[in-house]
Each structure stands twice: as C-alpha cells, then as structure tokens.
Symmetry: D2
Subunit: 355 residues, 4 copies
Amino acid sequence: MSGNCFGKLFQITTWGESHGEAVGVVIDGCPPKIPLDEAIVQEMLDRRRPGGASTSTSRKESDTARILSGVFENKTTGTPIMIMVENKDAKSGAYKSIADLYRPGHGDITYQKKYGIRDWRGGGRASARETVGRVAAGAVANAVLNQNNIDVFSFTKALGSTIAEDFDRNAINQNMFLAADLNAAKMMEKEVVEVKKMGDSLGGIVEVRALNVPTGLGEPVFDKLDADLAKALMSIGAVKGVEIGAGFEAAKLRGSQNNDPITPEGFASNNAGGILAGISNGDEIIVRVAVKPIPSIAIEQDTIDIHNKPQKISIKGRHDISAIPRINVVCEAMVNLVIVDHLMRQKVLQSKRDD
Amino acid sequence: MSGNCFGKLFQITTWGESHGEAVGVVIDGCPPKIPLDEAIVQEMLDRRRPGGASTSTSRKESDTARILSGVFENKTTGTPIMIMVENKDAKSGAYKSIADLYRPGHGDITYQKKYGIRDWRGGGRASARETVGRVAAGAVANAVLNQNNIDVFSFTKALGSTIAEDFDRNAINQNMFLAADLNAAKMMEKEVVEVKKMGDSLGGIVEVRALNVPTGLGEPVFDKLDADLAKALMSIGAVKGVEIGAGFEAAKLRGSQNNDPITPEGFASNNAGGILAGISNGDEIIVRVAVKPIPSIAIEQDTIDIHNKPQKISIKGRHDISAIPRINVVCEAMVNLVIVDHLMRQKVLQSKRDD
Amino acid sequence: MSGNCFGKLFQITTWGESHGEAVGVVIDGCPPKIPLDEAIVQEMLDRRRPGGASTSTSRKESDTARILSGVFENKTTGTPIMIMVENKDAKSGAYKSIADLYRPGHGDITYQKKYGIRDWRGGGRASARETVGRVAAGAVANAVLNQNNIDVFSFTKALGSTIAEDFDRNAINQNMFLAADLNAAKMMEKEVVEVKKMGDSLGGIVEVRALNVPTGLGEPVFDKLDADLAKALMSIGAVKGVEIGAGFEAAKLRGSQNNDPITPEGFASNNAGGILAGISNGDEIIVRVAVKPIPSIAIEQDTIDIHNKPQKISIKGRHDISAIPRINVVCEAMVNLVIVDHLMRQKVLQSKRDD
Amino acid sequence: MSGNCFGKLFQITTWGESHGEAVGVVIDGCPPKIPLDEAIVQEMLDRRRPGGASTSTSRKESDTARILSGVFENKTTGTPIMIMVENKDAKSGAYKSIADLYRPGHGDITYQKKYGIRDWRGGGRASARETVGRVAAGAVANAVLNQNNIDVFSFTKALGSTIAEDFDRNAINQNMFLAADLNAAKMMEKEVVEVKKMGDSLGGIVEVRALNVPTGLGEPVFDKLDADLAKALMSIGAVKGVEIGAGFEAAKLRGSQNNDPITPEGFASNNAGGILAGISNGDEIIVRVAVKPIPSIAIEQDTIDIHNKPQKISIKGRHDISAIPRINVVCEAMVNLVIVDHLMRQKVLQSKRDD
C-alpha cells in the first residue's frame, strides 16, 4: 500500500531513479494467456523517448525494454511481469553543481524534507524518467485492452497559448507536437522557437480519449472511474488539473444545457465525458489534464541552498522545453491502466449476473 | 478494496442508501485518545443539511448522528468508530412514478447496467445522501487535524456565471452561498432566483484551502498528495474537474512565471498550491473543484425507460437548484480525510529519522 | 487497510465493543442479486449465541440482526451491506471491580499498552462478542457460496483431552459439543462437568471442511488459499494453531507417504487438504485449528494491576468453560469469507480464459 | 492487491520464475536512511543457497544479489528498492521429459487449471526459487529490525522422526541441519542417509523466535500479529501448519495451566508465545511451522499427464531430500517482514500518544 503501487487487480509497482542503474515496473495481476513480447512494450516506450520533438531533451537513451518474468512462449502466465530498462546515458556530473541547491518548481526541497535524504542525481526518483515504468506497464495494459477492442489515444489540446480547436485524429502523428490540428501545430512550433530563445518553458493541455469502453466500469462511491482517472493523471509529475467531459466548463452551464439527453440509440451529447455517477455509460471517455511548464529553465531564478541561504540558479542541462508531447503517452498509459483495472473489477460482478 | 473504502491508514467505509433505513460510516484506523463526541460530528453534519440556502431541497432531515462504537468516555480508543444517521423524511412514493425512467445526468442508467439491479428510491446509493457518511468521517478527521493545528476551510468560488474575485474569509459565513466575497454573493442570489423560476439548475466552483499543513505529506509516485486529493474530490457526485494551485491556468504560463521562487522565509508565490512533486511544501494547500449543475430539473428532457423506449421526463421532487453550497462541506470533509491519512503515513517515516 | 478489514474483493469491516451500543459489520463487494434477508443472517448468528451448550456463558442476548443497507426487495444490490446487532444484556457493573486489573490470558494488558486507553467493559473490542460481525458476514458469504454449490461445515475434533476419532456428519447436530462422533461427545460431557466443578476451563480442536470448492482458488505466492485460511482462522481470539490437511503430522511422513497420487478420477488420498501450491485442487478442503482454554477462570491467579502492583484475581462472571462449540460457527464463517473472496478473485481470470 | 504483494507499510512484491531470466523483489515502504548494501543482502541469501547441507540439491547458483534502486551512498532513500538475482544454472532440459506430467505433491496441476498455462521449466513460479525474493527482502527488513534492537532467529525443531528436545542457540550453526541440539543433529544425519538411499524425502518442524519485540505490535481484529505471522509462514511452499507458543498443545491444557501469570517483572511463563489478543506482549515471540516432505522423489508414483491419462513418474533431478534446513532462513525472512511491517504500523499510533 506504499506509494509506488497503483491499481487494485491489475497492480503495478514502479521502481528506479533517474541516474540509478535502471528503472522498471512489476505488474502483478495481468491475466494469463495475453500475447506479449518485448517489441510490444518497446513500441509504446519509444513514444516517450527524448528526441522526438523540438520541445525535448537531447539525452539519448535507447530505452531498451527487457521482460524478465511472467511471460512464457510469448504469452503472459498470470505471474508477475517484471520489465526493466537500464539507464545508460545518465550524466550525473552535470547535476553535481546543483546538488546543494533546491531547484524552484522541482521536488528537491520536498523530497529532502520528507525523507531527510535524496538522490540528487538527475532528480532521482522525482525525475520524469520514472514514467518509463508506467509506460511499459501501460503497454501491457494495452495488450489486454486490445483483446477487449478498447481503443485509447491521446493528443495535445493546447501548448502554451496555442489552443487546438479542430480535431482530426489522423493529424496527431503528422506533427511533432501530437496535436489533432495541423494548423495549431504550426503555431505551436512558432511559440516553441520563441520560448526556447528566451530560455523559458511552456505548459499545455493533453486530452485522452477511450473508445469502446463497455458500460458499467467504475466502483462507487470512492473508486469511481473518474476518481481513479483523476488520481492516475494527477500522479504524473507536471499535471496540475484534471477534468472529465465538459469539466470546468460544466460549472458555468445550466442543468438543461449540461445534461446529456438519453435516446434509444444512446446519449445525444457527451458533456459527461462517458461517465455517469462514476460508472462508464458506454459513450467515449474524455479526460483532459493541465500540464505546467517545465520548471528547469535557463532564466535565472531565486532559490535557497540546503543550508537555507539565498542563491541564484540558472539551469543549463539537457531539458525539455515542455513536458508535451513526451508526457502524452504517459497520460495514455495511465488511462490504460485505470481502464484495464476496472475492466477486471467489473468481470467479478458480471460473472455473477444472469441478465 | 471494494469501492466504498477510502484511505490507507485512516480508512473509512461508507454505507447506506437515500431511502434505506440509515446511512453511515465506519472509520478504521483513527488514532486513540482523540477527544470525540456526537456534538463534534453533529456540528459538521449540520453544515450539509438541506434547508440552509435558497439553492437547497426542502427535504427535512434532522440528521442526528449516533456514535455506536470506538469511543469510550469521550475519547477514541483506536478501535473502529461507527457513526450512523437514520433516514426519517424519505418519501419514496415521489420516486415511484420515475422508477422505470432513467433520469438524464443521473446514475440510474449506469447503476442498472453495472449491477443489473438498483434501489431506485431517491437515487439509492448514488444519492448525495451518501455524503452523510463522508462528512461524519470528515468531522472525526478534523478532530485529529485540530490536534495538529491544521485548519481546513472551503468557500464558493463561483456559482453559475458569477465568479467571486475577492477573498475575505470572514465573509464566508455571512452569506448563504458561502462565498468569500459579499458582493459576489448578492449576484449569486439574483442568478439563483432567475434560474429557479426557469426550472433549471446551476453549477459552480468550490475552493478548499488547508493551512499549517506540515512539509512532507504525500507518498510518491502514485499516492502523491495532489493525486489523492484529486481522487477524493472527483469521487464526489457532481464534481467534473479538480485543479491544484494555478491549475488549468498553469498550462498557459511560462516556467519563469509559474515557478514559485524560494527564499529563506519560504516561497515567494504559490502557483504550486502548496504541493511540489506530490509532497506538501509547507505553503497553503489550494484546490478547486468544478461542480456540474444539478441534473434534476423541472424543464422537460428526453430520456428512455428501462425497456429502451423514448420518454419525456420533468422532475418535480424536492431538489436543490445547485449542489453548492451544501457540497462545500463535503469537499472540505474529503480534504480533511486525505490530509489526516497522509499525516499518519508520514509519521511512519518521521519516527525513523534522526534529523 | 487498518486491522478491522478482511478480504480483498468480498471485504468486511467489523465494528463494536462488547458493552458498547451495538456490534456489526459492513460488507463491501458482495455481488448483486444474491437472495438475502435478515432470517438468513439470523440463522447463522443463532449458532454462536450463548446458552446452547453446557460449556457456554449464561449471558442472554437475543442477538437480533438488522440489515440496514445494501439489500433491496430481498436481494443484494452490490452496494455495502451493513448488519447490526444491539447489545442488550451487557452488565458492565460486573467488570468494574476488575477495571484496574489485567486478566491473565486476556488482551487487557496488551490493548492498554498498545493504545494507551481501553474500554475495559466486558473486554471491549477484544471480547468474543466482536465475532457477531464475522458470523453475520459469514452468513452473507454463505449465501454466495450456496449459489455456487459450495458446502462448508465445521465440527469439534477435540475438547480437552477427548479426541473424536470417528466422523459422522449427521452426528454433529445431535450433540451439544458439535462433535462428529457421539461416543466422544459423551466423554466430552464428562470432562466438562469435572472441569466446571474445579473452576477451570478447556481448549480443543475444531475442524472445518469445504466441499465442492472448484479447482483454481488461491493467489500465489502470498495470497495462497491456505495462507489466507491460516490468517483468517488465527485472527480468531482463542486460536493458537492452524493446519491444513495432514498438517503437523505431515512433518513426520516421508514424501512417498505424504504425496497424494493423482489418478484420472482425482487424487487417491488427501494429505494436501485440498490445496496444492496454495491453489485448491478440487478435493475437499480440510483445516483444523487449536483453540486455547478460556482464560477467565474462577481459580485464583497471579496478576498485576495498571500500576504494576502484584494482585490476585479470580474471575466469577458469566463465562464459557470452553470457546468450543460456540467458536465453531466463527471458524466456519471465516472459511466462508476466504472461499468467497477467492472465488471472486478467480472469476477475474476465468473470464479471460478461452479454454 | 494481487497475490504477489505482502505487507501493508513495508510492502514487498516478488517476481520471477525458476528458469526465467532472473528472480527478485521490489520493496516499497522501507524507511529512509537505513544503512544497506549488497553485502548485507548477500549474507542472508547465502543461507538459503543450495549445497549447504546433505539434504540439499546440487544445483549451483552463485545467487549474486544486485540492488538496482532505492539506495544512495549506502543508505536507503525511502524509494522502492529493487533487488535482483539472475538465474544462471537453470537446466530446463531436465524438465522437458516431465513437461506433460503433473508431479504429485507439486503445483503443476493446480497452476495449469488455474491459469490455463504454466511455465513448466523447473516448477516455474511455484519453485522454491521464488523465495530468493523473500529472503532478499527479509535481509532489508532485518536491517530495520537491527536499528530497533530486535533479534530474529530460526532453528530446526524436528526433521522426519527426530525431534530436537534441547535448546542451545550456539549449537544452531554448528550442525548442518541447523538444530539447536547437537545430539539430535547426529540422529538427523542418520535418518537423512537412510532416506536418501530409499529415494524418499523428509519433512520436519522449524521454529522461529524473535527477541526484544516491543509491546503493542499487531492490529486487531484481523491483522493481529499472530494472524499475519500465520499467513506469512503458511504462504511458504512446503508449510502445512503454523502454531504460536504452546500451539496445538494448548488445546489439551486447562486454563489454569495455559494462562501465563503476570508479575511486575513480566510473564511467569510463555504459553502465549509472546502474543496476547493478537498484540505482542513484550515476551519472546515463538512460532513453529510444519514442513511437508519434499514431493520430488525417486520412488515411482502414480500420476496423470495433461491429457488426463494415467502415468508413472519417478523424479531424478537435483532435488533436496528435505526443505529443511534451506527453508529455515525463508521462515525467518517472513517473520522479519511481519515484524517490521507491524513495527511501522505501531509507529503511527505511538506518535499520537502523549503517555
């Protein structure tokens, strides 16, 4: 029950630090006989690897996934699946100069105060590198979702001040920002260039959607599907907000506007984001997260050192300009994990029903 | 691990349906020797009782709390605390006419499809009446927080289209909408009158703040303080979004704007909402939730019945115009529960530290 | 996760003290649409009520079960089931004289040292009265097992020095000691009379068997079926040992004697007690528990008071001579709970299998 | 919550199969700043390595432990600790001939029926090799116990028909059977030689004791210290029974004999085995387990194949004659894990107490 486990039936435990020997995950509870090999995991991992977009760090990690247990003859066996990625391009030297400084917007100060000790190399456990384990597990979850015909995908809804109004799923992989809107992508590129020049960074909004999710997933009153999605997504480093369906906009609507009328063919609108009373309603699941700008910036900032002395800091390492778009696949992985977990939880009830 | 338990060390299980015999909660893990009696619970329960504001239902429940275990000579004993409130003014007759209809925006349809059976009286388990258990537990959590000098409070940030820009904590209990801004409260009153006349309903935004939360609460990488707050709040019936600190606004800021500079006296700003890398940083915890408009409206809506036939529905029961302000104390209770749980989790580590 | 919850999918939380207002249980995770009413619960509760056998206390509790939630029109709804029994014949006065004394063999001293406070009336939470909640939950579990054709029963294997060698299931309800051997029952009666005269008490051995348990229940490597049975049974107040199948006798056997040969028709013997590698093998589940003698005896004993002063104590309340046979139904209830929990856990996997 | 996790605050997840690439464990919740390096883990692991006693297999594994996360500059950081041991001397070829046979007394048949698939190489996940992860975690738990001055040790109480009556702690490491009685050890040697010749195997009894365990550990009513010990030990492959203190003998005693009198200096006897009402009483914790004989024997046995056809089987691999004494350190590791978990759980309460 410690903080590095997630999920109830499809339960994962991630481990590893940014500049330790390796990062990885143990998946306990994956159903048996699911087709799985390292290539399936690698494909999803490759989507979070640095270097893909102009917003990303130049750290070069091949991030090769090794499955060390739980798979026999390319099928899961129902036993724990351990997946590991070695850290190869970790350059801790670059961090030595700031080992005694608390970087603003980072967990340096809170980790130190919580644990009384911290691995300062590359942010240690608080590094985004921890998400390697999440994505590897998300790939396994996806293998289970595939068997249930469930389709989860993500895209960039906003980057900095640029909001993508259009939605064209085909566009997502045609631009490096993973926007579903090619015009918006062009404006994002402009904004990135400008911000990079200033030594600053950008936030944005990621949207994740899930298609073909069966009705009935979610366990009221606390483990509601939206509650677990909120936790899953808010647990990602840079995320500061989560909303379902109409989300914060719903606060401004009247009941007559916000309610989704029900017809024999389904819901006439989807302000609910596919979830009613915490249970999937058969419609598309829609969730958005607010991503804060990367805190590591070249612009000089005020901070303190571990002796509580005021200091100036300017961070010059290999840092992303924005967590977007590398964070998108992490959000998607977390949604995969929540849905597969609830799919399994619902199976318990279904097998008991005679209707 | 089923869906009606919340918390890891301070763990609650709520039970009961809107029109069943009673609703209540069992609290397992409350520390011993905390001063507690029924009056303490009653005081917080009274804040969620209907009838307080012009937005609220006319259902009259005295909601008298009885503590049936876990307290001896007005102190907790470390054993489970069971608190129960009987349902007295439940008028199920009013619901019989809609027993076969799925109310739009409600859990009727999803409960039926999930469980294959539902207690349709008053919304059953999906009713806001379930939150009686949450608030009773929140009162006990608050008794523990009091001993740690932690102060949690809530207020209405927005109701419908009215946003409260000012913040005056004293104002909160001087207006029936629990806004921290008396001018905004007046405008809210106007909007409510108008909407009521139309048979429609309103949503809004609730903000919860926690003062004096010690540094170090939160358990990365999944049980981060913000992740658990997000889950806790999103698990409340009408909530569609949760944000921490600058929240969705942070998505638009640059790193240089969003980062909170660190000084020897503390943080120079609080965009982080008191949480860095999922761990409390000693600053004020700030969280906001988006509350959707009450789905029960007099205005006629399209829906279906349990035989999948199209129907019209117009809901005329004793319903609130808005979940606000009755939901505010529920939000506060959930924040209490998360903080006390993490306070206890952190004690485990602290007792091991020599610094 | 605090200590008063048991089970993973069929999860119970018991609450209440011996002389508090009531004792009870919340069951979270019971499948929907299971036929259930108060009579079903009452029938099992009546089996643990004092007064049945000459070994039992004269405390007279009608122990009337009330179901306050989770059941609608005599069927479970999938929401939490709260069952409560009021304490009516609690005579705390009798305990006042020993409020400052630690009774040998009881939890008085350990509760005081653990929590720094204790409800000394009637043993408080450490009283066997807590098992009311377990048995009520066991009755609900049994309702689920019935639907799966699983049959769990218990009997007295030994009382004091009398060991029941024969096994006749029909005999169990034909003698007040619930032995499956009427001759042994007669000898037990003799031993009880003699011990009662001396103001002393007796222990014994209870055996529980489960028929028609499907192959495949149990979740290696920690939540093995036998491991969860061991925990469930050892968590009962007076139990000091648990063994499966041949149990401690297996330690003396050779592999060639202990192994159960496998034939196309099933296992040729059952030293395994129906469990191999922690997973049910389709054979009869057999488990035995060692029950210590009731610690409350009239014979004078050495002890200390809460000020650490030496004292003499002689306990004269309304006490059982032996926890047997009232404990038998408690053991059975715990086995019910473990099996139903694992039945549900296995459903998760089965629904994924195509063979 | 799946079956490969153990513990609540000090939580471990083991992973790996006998002939997979590696076996290991993730420890989530280890307190920070505990001195730890690979040598500490290796020392405990070496005690379970084959080859130490005449009862053991000739499989030669160096079993070199690697710590891949959670430790920085030889101290734990409070983040997950991953420890891994590669499988190097796995000879799966030897198992191919029995891939289609269910070995009596083994989990082959139950794993196949539960999961519909199994890694048959060397017993897969059901192999005793899985305990490498338990022992590695037990070594880390021991590092925490050391800081609390708690001393856990184990010894062989019986092997086959030989019972060790004497107790001399110094003797334990002076004989290859780890008996606390050198005379008994000699008789054990004789019995082993004889049984080996016959191609048969032996069971026995292991006792674990814990000294200096503080009063107050254990969380009634389900997570009692003895209940968690019972589960922990019964989850070990070959264990068929667990008893605390007087255990099954207590069933035969009278209350006046079994009760431990309390004096100002402590308990006058220890039939309780250091646990009262599920809470440690400050006395020595004493627990014994019944170990069944190794099921892999050269003597021919009846069994079936995966097509349900009758077959003969005679197992000639590199097998131990008895799980004892290699299992002793595994029992010790499980006791370490339970005690450290409860030590941490009790810290939560202590920090709240003012007495």
